[in-house]
């Protein structure tokens, strides 16, 4: 009995130690990432490349998901408010608020954690196991800053645009689905999305997006940067990047919602 308890205790201590050690390494890595860049022109060029790779190439998936999620939200709201005491414009209002408050920031961030996060972790992880990061370090380049900072800047700049695109496309999806299914008229939907509109909700959504963009990039880069081994470990790091950044996003979603909306 007692040896079993001691073994469990040791396991818990070991787990806590690994968590704290990983947490410390994450902050040390951030310290290296935000060190003064060696040559601004090269960092600018890298940032432009990352804007295309991580930003522009995410527009397609954002549009597709937002359109269908907007459509589903509208239809779900309509079927759950089939009561004469609820005015139909509430369907438009529900669609608008769901998309702005939660979907376009949080759900899109979770999807981007899958797409962008795994991309970042596998790219940096492969560079680590093929000694490309060693090559950078040997040249005297701050590899963490050179590889990660442009990605952080690119996602911080571009993800708010993705959120705005998602809001517009999501509401359009809701309107098309609602009117096509005959659950709401165009006039009622437009009245609903304008009813009691609070502009701060957009600001709230964009603030969340900035936090989530930072989490996706830095957590995924951290997983890739410290990979040891070969392709199997790179694959594992890629999976960890998606899981850890998703969990962190969900945790910060609760914290930010409480801080920004209370």
């Amino acid at each position: 009995m007692l040896p079993g308890i001691i073994a469990k205790f040791d396991e818990t201590i070991d787990l806590m130690f690994r968590f704290l050690s990983g947490f410390g390494s994450y902050w040390l890595l951030l310290g290296k990432v935000f060190a003064r860049p060696e040559k601004h022109s090269i960092y600018y060029r890298q940032t432009m490349k990352e804007l295309i790779s991580l930003g522009l190439r995410s527009i397609g998936i954002t549009i597709i998901i937002s359109f269908f999620m907007g459509a589903v939200i509208t239809l779900q709201t309509a079927y759950n408010t089939e009561n004469p005491i609820y005015p139909t414009y509430l369907i438009g209002l529900g669609c608008r608020d769901s998309i702005i408050l939660e979907f376009s920031s949080t759900i899109v961030a979770l999807i981007l954690a899958g797409k962008v996060g795994s991309n970042i972790a596998s790219e940096i992880g492969t560079m680590r196991v093929t000694e490309q990061i060693d090559a950078l370090e040997l040249m005297g380049v701050n590899s963490a800053s050179y590889l990660i900072l442009p990605k952080v800047v690119a996602t911080l700049v571009f993800n708010p645009f993705l959120t705005l695109i998602s809001i517009v496309v999501g509401i359009m999806g809701g309107w098309i689905a609602g009117t096509s299914a005959g659950v709401i008229t165009t006039q009622d939907f437009i009245y609903g999305i304008q009813y009691a509109f609070i502009p701060y909700y957009i600001t709230y959504s964009l603030i969340k997006t900035l936090f989530f963009a930072f989490i996706i990039t830095t957590v995924s880069a951290f997983q890739g940067y410290y990979v040891e081994g070969g392709s199997l470990e790179v694959g594992r790091a890629s999976t960890k990047a998606v899981v850890y950044s998703s969990i962190t996003i969900l945790l910060f979603n609760v914290i930010l919602t409480q801080l920004l909306l209370s």
């Binding site: 090269i42 560079m127 093929t130 370090e137 040249m139």
Partner: protein
């Protein structure tokens, strides 16, 4: 000149390098030989500072490199070039961009000067009309040569090569060996090569250090290796029958 003094390195309680001391001279191809897992790569990575040593000192000329901080090391690293085992070319960049990278990062050369230097380095390693190719489109030997071109782009004082012949056919290996030797003399560099290729040892071994299980067991040059009576060295160097015959004939002479 590079000097390693009593270098010790452990990983999780396992001592990989045990009190190694060695001097590497400029204008010469200095070889570190030993079987796989003997600690050659760890020693080389300690010398270049990619791994922190536990005890001892690494000197670059009169500078105690191993005690420098990141900024101090950075200055010396600008004078280093390294050819990694797998070439370590940047996958997302073309051949030209790979060679251009250190020039962009650390020089204020004009575009014409950079292009001139890139083409000179690529021509020197016999890579012609391949500027726009990506590393994935090159053969193993070509990748090694592009990696050498990148390593010499900034005219380094120190060149490090980790198993430059691994994965290459014997003929290409000789080409790479000759290239390293010629460039070393041309630029009067201090070159350190990690290898277990016996052709390299016999061709380039102006100074050889033999490491076995993390310890330096022998030091000499290619002519001395033939007459050495160090059993562990002889078992390693003259492992096949052809090499044994060579050893026997050299002793008869």
């Amino acid at each position: 000149m590079i000097r390693a003094e009593n270098v010790t390195k452990s990983f999780g309680g396992r001592e990989v390098l045990k009190n190694i001391s060695a001097t590497f001279e400029p204008g010469k191809t200095n070889l570190i030989i030993g079987k796989s897992g003997s600690g050659k790569t760890v020693f080389l990575k300690c010398i270049v500072g990619l791994l922190e040593i536990d005890e001892g000192n690494i000197w670059y000329g009169d500078t105690l490199f191993s005690k420098l901080d990141f900024t101090g090391k950075k200055e010396i690293r600008k004078e280093m070039g390294m050819l990694f085992q797998g070439s370590a070319l940047f996958d997302s960049m073309t051949v030209e961009e790979n060679v251009r990278f250190p020039l962009d990062m650390f020089t204020r050369m004009s575009e014409e000067e950079k292009l001139e230097r890139i083409n000179f380095c690529l021509k020197r390693v016999d890579i012609i009309n391949s500027n726009s190719l990506f590393p994935a489109e090159l053969s193993g030997g070509m990748r090694k040569r592009v990696a050498i071109a990148r390593a010499i782009a900034l005219k380094p004082r120190y060149l490090f090569c980790d198993e430059p012949n691994s994965g290459l056919d014997p003929k290409t290996s000789i080409v790479i060996d000759e290239l390293i030797k010629e460039i070393t003399v041309e630029l009067n560099m201090t070159t350190i090569v990690n290898t277990h290729d016996m052709n390299s040892v016999m061709e380039n071994g102006e100074k050889i250090i033999f490491i076995e299980e993390g310890e330096k067991c022998w030091e000499g040059c290619k002519t001395e290796i033939l007459k050495s009576d160090c059993k562990i060295l002889n078992d390693f160097v003259f492992a096949n029958s052809l090499a044994k015959q060579l050893k026997a004939s050299s002793l008869e002479e």
